[in-house]
């Protein structure tokens, strides 16, 4: 038995170079220090993405876009064995994935892991976050329930308020002047074909960069002499801990999905007024609230435009951080970048909380 395994391994090794991969995994190390905990969050984001791919394919087996969208999700939730659980896991893991990516992003930001040579890691990661949010926005419409209907309506009003081509673009995305069955069909194509086709190669690039450059050290570790830095082997030590984190994540997901099954709500009806207290998902709450505030400060459509412009400028500044915080030393620029990060985190937390308080 063992010799059969060995000869199969040798046959494959001669053609695929498996031995090199093993050596690579054995040689690879992960730094051990006070901030090592944050190294797990990229892996957790990946775990939730895998859950999304798996449960997404399962939902694809029964979901029907177009005019039957709501009815098919109703059948999945109430007529199909464990359909409620698969859908609930997909919705919960979507939220947990965005949360994990946010934690991953902020930990990378504050550890200054975007500096040379990891700029492309930062940019590909930001691309993955933005794609994930489009995933969330498009997936949210697919059940075509009341909340989805209004969320999409409001979400598409934002590009529509842009001067010149805004309204045309929004109508093209919607497939009509109002959210309708063509919108569901379009968002479905976006959600299951276009976004995965963009996301997967970008994810591959991101993971390849992580493999190429290894884990970044936070500045206080970098200041230490090499002899004082500690590491652990990637395989099996870090790998085992990574798996343990995935297991914890799976348990949390299973508890949330089964104890708090995702609701379906009533079917979308364009003649029904929006229900009181309607609000976007938490990861859009901050931008929702910022737009609301600016809408109150500058009445009329200009408020939205000013809010969106400021938001976009902040995002661009955020994405370009590897270009202006370049110094390895902890000088004034590095401190300013940290303050910028704290400001961004503060605005995010304050406006999100504000948003939730305002709808109560």
């Amino acid at each position: 038995m063992k010799s059969v395994f060995a000869s199969v391994f040798n046959w494959m090794d001669a053609r695929l170079g498996l031995q090199d991969l093993l050596h690579l995994a054995q040689k690879k190390t992960v730094p051990v220090h006070r901030q090592t905990f944050w190294y797990y969050w990229g892996g957790l984001s990946l775990f939730f993405f895998l859950v999304q791919a798996f449960t997404g394919v399962l939902l694809l087996l029964y979901y029907r876009p177009g005019p039957e969208a709501y009815e098919s999700v109703r059948q999945i939730s109430f007529d199909t064995n464990f359909g409620w659980l698969i859908r609930s896991a997909h919705s919960w893991a979507a939220n947990l994935m965005i949360l994990a990516i946010f934690i991953h992003m902020f930990s990378v930001f504050f550890m200054k892991a975007y500096r040379q040579p990891r700029e492309f890691g930062w940019w590909s990661g930001m691309g993955l976050l933005l794609l994930s949010m489009v995933f969330g926005f498009s997936g949210y419409l697919l059940p075509m329930n009341e909340l989805a209907f209004f969320a999409t309506k409001v979400g598409l009003e934002i590009p529509a308020s842009f001067p010149l081509l805004g309204a045309k673009m929004a109508s093209l995305v919607r497939g009509g002047l109002d959210v309708n069955e063509y919108t569901v069909q379009r968002f479905f194509a976006l959600h299951v074909v276009i976004l995965p086709a963009l996301f997967l190669p970008l994810l591959g690039f991101h993971l390849w960069l992580v493999q190429k450059h290894g884990n970044a050290l936070p500045p206080e570790e970098e200041d230490k002499p090499e002899a004082q830095r500690r590491t652990m082997p990637f395989f099996p030590n870090f790998f085992a801990k990574d798996l343990a984190m995935w297991l914890i994540a799976l348990n949390i997901l299973a508890l949330l999905a089964s104890l708090f099954p995702w609701e379906l709500g009533p079917i979308a009806d364009s003649l029904k007024p929006a229900p009181k207290g309607i609000h976007p998902e938490w990861y859009f709450m901050s931008s929702f609230q910022v737009l609301k505030i600016f809408g109150q400060w500058f009445p009329g459509a200009s408020g939205e435009v000013i809010g969106m412009t400021l938001f976009t400028l902040g995002l661009v500044l955020w994405i370009l951080v590897p270009l202006y915080d370049t110094s390895r030393k902890s000088g004034e620029r590095a401190r300013n970048a940290t303050y910028f990060g704290l400001l961004a985190l503060g605005i995010l937390v304050v406006t999100t909380t504000w948003g939730y308080l305002a709808i109560r």
Binding site: L58, D79, T80, N81, F82, G83, L85, I86, L247, L250
Partner: protein, 163 residues
């Protein structure tokens, strides 16, 4: 002295091995539990339509709509559970209800009025239109036969006892 030391070392090694064995067995067991906890809902989710059509196939009797109006020499297709079936009102006034799934490779068969026989277009199988017996071509078995009960206002097709 050195001899006893190696003995203790060996003893320790044995303990370690068994502890390692226990740990990997326990981990394997937990892993199996997780695999089962994930696979069971997924399996049931995937098999939901299979369960539905199996439940539909469990019917023992069907009343094809408007079959009572079928004149002699005419035939109709109807659904017996999940399967297509063929109801023939022969010119001599007798009725025949047959499973319409060819016993060769599962195509749906058709009644040929002009030849008074059942024909499968996929590979040329031919069956007797009254008994469902396989007459020529590749089919290995006769078509399944149902019992027909005709009354004033309905034709009822029932699964025959011998299966």
């Amino acid at each position: 002295m050195s001899k006893s030391k190696t003995k203790i070392e060996k003893q320790e090694q044995d303990d370690l091995l068994s502890r390692r064995g226990f740990a990997s067995a326990a981990l394997g067991g937990v892993g199996l539990c997780y695999a089962a906890a994930v696979s069971y809902p997924v399996y049931r989710y995937l098999s939901a339509p299979v369960e539905k059509s199996a439940a539909a196939a469990a019917v023992t009797s069907v009343t094809p709509p408007d079959a009572v109006k079928l004149p002699p020499g005419k035939h109709m297709m109807f659904k017996f559970g999940a399967r297509p079936a063929l109801l023939i009102h022969h010119k001599d006034g007798t009725w025949a209800a047959l499973d319409a799934v060819c016993t060769h490779l599962g195509c749906t068969v058709q009644y040929e009025t002009e030849n008074d026989r059942i024909f499968c277009a996929c590979h040329g199988g031919i069956y007797d239109a009254k008994t469902g017996k396989n007459i020529s071509g590749p089919p290995p078995r006769p078509l399944g036969k149902y019992a027909v009960t005709v009354s004033q206002d309905a034709v009822v097709v029932t699964r025959e006892k011998q299966g």
